[in-house]
């Protein structure tokens, strides 16, 4: 794995989804790590900040909404892609109000997800550093 590849984090309490999304991300040449709860992801921020966060909403202890709010407070703002199995117009509006950049209903199409990650990271790098765009995804 290329150490310069963008890091993408997945926070989802469903193990099979974490495994599948890690495979998907790595197959698209991203570095990827997954967390089964929001607290563990927040702990990891002291060591590294991902360039993109894929976030589930319905999780025990701390929900995806609460994690988004915590990130706002911490001023840590990786682009957030929300994936949820419970789609309601109000949920969508709330996620976007919290700063989520994309919102997908499960089951998420892998191709669309990877395309969104690529666009968001590229856009963020250009905005922040006028930097170099990440390599185009393979999937």
């Amino acid at each position: 794995m290329n150490e310069d590849a963008p890091l993408v984090a997945v926070v989802d309490d469903e193990e099979s989804i974490r495994r599948a999304l890690l495979r998907l991300l790595r197959s698209a040449n991203y570095r990827a790590e997954a967390f089964d709860c929001a607290a563990r992801f927040l702990e990891s921020l002291s060591e590294r900040t991902p360039e993109c966060l894929i976030l589930d909403l319905q999780m025990p202890a701390m929900t995806g909404f609460e994690l988004q709010q915590r990130l706002l407070e911490l001023r840590v703002r990786p682009p957030v892609i929300v994936i949820t199995a419970y789609d309601e117009p109000e949920t969508r509006a709330r996620c976007l109000a919290f700063g989520a950049e994309r919102y997908f209903c499960k089951p998420v199409d892998g191709h669309r997800l990877i395309k969104s990650i690529h666009e968001l990271i590229e856009s963020r790098r250009r905005r922040d550093h006028g930097g170099v765009a990440p390599p185009a995804p393979l999937v």
Partner: protein, 402 residues
């Protein structure tokens, strides 16, 4: 006056004082004597009130072929006359000049040597109508609850099925891209085809779930000017049996006159029913004599306020932040969608919903919706509340159920 005459006058007076329509028939089924109530009925030309001397059994036999009630009464009367039955009771409906009437009829043997029977008939139309009304309310409440449950269930099912589908779809897409290489051997081409099929089917399953969910979700809202008092009253009518069965005392404090809001009557009624059922369920552990549901409406400037208060279990401290989150529930068998749906309905109407209370001290749900005044009319500034009812949310802590 002879003793026999006096006895006859006495028994006649007793018969005439009865509100039931009473007829006495002989062993052959001929009407021997009737009371005033029966006569009044006969004078109104009621077909089922024959005069003295008429052949009741004969009339019943004539009707029995086309009238199930007449056949049942005929069989009962015959068995009583034969001494095979001590008492025959039957309820039936007859259309009289002023509309349908329900009767409860009782036939008992006349315990004299010559035999015969006493027929007593009582008009139970009011009771029957009340029963039918209760049944209708029960049915409508059941239908509303079933619709709400189905909507909630479809949400829960969509959630539970979409989770594994997400993993299936992502895994299959990775698998497909892993084997799909130029010039791959035939066996890998077959594996690629398998992955492609899995991807297509997972997508299709996701679409089916989405369509099903759309179908079972609440209908598109139609916003009209509606009276919040009327909607609350309708919801209470639908919940009447629920309140009765659960021994819940109702305290209504409605604003005077209509309280106009722009809303969807069905959605708002759904909201009210959810909150009323929630309140009732929260009072299961409250002593029956103390179970009280208070529903109040009031105009607050440009807002219409609805307050639903119970003296049930309330909610543990710290839990109130999550009460409106989907799938959060404190009920043993709850789906955790009721209050989430309530919040969606209130948001659809441009309003706010808040919950207050503390553990063991009841729950207060306050809903505020934008009020609608008639053109040129200023919004009303006060309702019927007493001075202690100007802010149930503040100071009551936190409570409620998901």
């Amino acid at each position: 006056m002879s003793d026999g005459r006096a006895a006859s006058d006495f028994s006649g007076a007793v018969l005439n004082s009865l509100v039931e329509e009473v007829a006495i028939i002989d062993r052959a089924g001929t009407i021997m004597q009737v009371n005033d109530a029966w006569t009044r009925c006969a004078e109104r030309s009621c077909l089922d009130c024959l005069a003295v001397g008429a052949d009741l059994l004969g009339a019943l036999k004539a009707d029995a072929a086309r009238d199930r009630d007449a056949a049942a009464v005929l069989a009962g009367v015959e068995r009583v006359l034969q001494g095979a039955l001590d008492c025959f009771e039957h309820e039936y409906m007859r259309t009289r000049r002023d509309g349908p009437h329900w009767f409860s009829q009782r036939v008992a043997p006349l315990r004299i040597e010559q035999g015969g029977a006493v027929i007593a008939r009582f008009d139970v139309t009011d009771r029957k109508r009340a029963e039918q009304e209760r049944e209708r309310h029960r049915y409508e409440l059941g239908r509303a609850v079933r619709a709400a449950t189905l909507g909630q269930l479809s949400g829960a099912l969509a959630h539970e099925l979409n989770q594994p589908l997400t993993a299936i779809l992502a895994n299959a897409q990775v698998g497909a891209s892993a084997v799909d290489r130029p010039g791959m051997p035939a066996e890998l081409a077959e594996v690629a085809a398998i992955f492609a099929d899995i991807v297509a089917d997972a997508r299709r399953a996701g679409q089916v779930i989405q369509r099903l969910r759309s179908l079972l979700q609440r209908h598109e809202a139609k916003l009209d000017v509606v009276d919040l008092n009327r909607i609350a009253d309708d919801a209470l009518t639908l919940s009447r049996s629920e309140l009765l069965v659960r021994n819940v005392r109702l305290v209504k404090q409605f604003a005077r006159g209509p309280l106009a809001v722009r809303g969807d009557a069905v959605e708002l009624q759904h909201l009210l029913l959810n909150l009323i059922v929630n309140a009732c369920e929260a009072m299961v552990a409250t002593a029956p004599a103390e179970r009280t549901l208070r529903i109040a409406t009031s105009a607050r400037g440009s807002r219409a306020r609805l307050v639903i208060e119970d003296n049930g279990t309330g909610v543990e401290s710290g839990a109130h932040d999550k009460l409106f989150e989907p799938f959060y529930t404190t009920k043993e068998h709850g789906l955790g969608l009721g209050l989430s749906i309530c919040r969606s309905i209130v948001a659809l109407h441009g309003g706010e919903i808040a919950i207050a209370g503390r553990s063991g001290a009841g729950t207060v749900v306050t809903v505020e919706l934008p009020a609608v005044g008639r053109p040129g009319e200023r919004p009303r500034s006060s309702g019927t509340f007493t001075s202690d009812d100007n802010g149930p949310v503040a100071g009551r802590g936190d409570a409620a159920r998901g």
